[in-house]
Symmetry: C2
Subunit: 276 residues, 2 copies
Amino acid sequence: VTEDTIVKKLRRRAPLIGDDCAVIPSPHNVDLLFTTDFSIEGVHFTRKSTAEEIGYRAVARSISDIAAMGGKPLYCLVSIALAPWTRPRWIDGLYRGIHKMLRKAKASLAGGDISHADQLVCDVMVCGFVASGKALLRSGARRGDILYVSGPLGGWRHRPVVVPQLAAGRKLIGKATACMDISDGLALDLHRLCNASKVAAKLDSIPLLKSATIEQALHDGEDYELLYTAPPRVRVPGIRIGTIVKGTPGAITFRDGPVSPRGYDHMRATTTISPQ
Amino acid sequence: VTEDTIVKKLRRRAPLIGDDCAVIPSPHNVDLLFTTDFSIEGVHFTRKSTAEEIGYRAVARSISDIAAMGGKPLYCLVSIALAPWTRPRWIDGLYRGIHKMLRKAKASLAGGDISHADQLVCDVMVCGFVASGKALLRSGARRGDILYVSGPLGGWRHRPVVVPQLAAGRKLIGKATACMDISDGLALDLHRLCNASKVAAKLDSIPLLKSATIEQALHDGEDYELLYTAPPRVRVPGIRIGTIVKGTPGAITFRDGPVSPRGYDHMRATTTISPQ
């Protein structure tokens, strides 16, 4: 079972699922955006990180999903299952990190749940909004569109601080044909965008963080830059990395060789998903 | 560290926290309600329960928080960290239970996150609504008010199916002075209601589920009946169990003896919290 298989199964029952956030029409010309992301010890972080880093990143992951839809975050629910090893001072650090990211994103903590587990588990829900019908989706990329990223890539080894691209996302409204954030690596996330849009992609060049490799940019996760497409005639900010082309939906090439949509899959740690 | 200490600390920073749901003013004369609840293997359930029961109950816990505010549920995000022992058929059962409760509550699944952990962790966020300013809070109980529950109590050992009291909650709007759901046992939850309202309570009689004891009704959790107060002149449905009285805030008596606010505390499994 891969993460994508489970999401596909869920989507059959709930037509709202499939993008970085659920989009809920609401009065006053806004759509509400809902997203939730786990941060689990041993899966998303290790105890080598500081409590503040863990809290900051747990919130940043969800805020990045709001950025990917071109939205603004409003409220946040933070659920925490504390592990036996957590001490009061450590928990203080965790909340410092949580509040630091919330302040940066201008979002408010509205509540949450507290419990305990064998390993530390955070689940961060964010509610945001975007103008009605303007949310950036994964499904609008068209053949001939140019493919962009909002910044250089390299994966978690080379990116000590996550910066959700809220301003970048909002600038893409009405311009980008598809958008998502890169949380599980460029290869797997681009594969998802292409699948949602029923197109293929041709990568030409990949901007790298200092000392990062192409391999890491393609297959490591946690970059949280935006990945988006726009027609050639539309000027958008960002770094051009390739083109949307005709081909098997979900298929990706880089310098004319096939790229495996391998990345961080939460059901298998690392896995390969064959295009279609 | 007890659960209540952590919540108190959080509340200092986030003035919205303190009731069963966060209440967020919204256009069109409604307040949005947000709540999230963990269901963790070994904490909230064991593998003795069926997958369907676990899924059903995980959603029911959050829906019950909406009921406690007099609200109607709308959307739901379900995050699941799968344990190594979960098999595809078991996961199907879990989702069957989740969807069964969602259908009963007329709520839609809008999304979620999927990951893995050493033990099964579900976190269910529900967004609901209530007419502006009408949400039932914990903090409005006044001396002389009558204390009610929506049904007989007895704790999880005697209650195989959780039924969130959505209809009961909505009937209390404009009538009850304070309301919450009983998730951690009558004693601890009444203690919380009294603390929030800065009053004491005198219990006279406690309606029991078949073969349940007073001890279980007071200190076991998971009843999910509503606990509420109303002035003597206001007619409300439910079962009368006592009175709000003058006294140390949070103090409870039953048949003139003191009741310890002991119940399910997620920081200590079972713990005693001294009134105040």
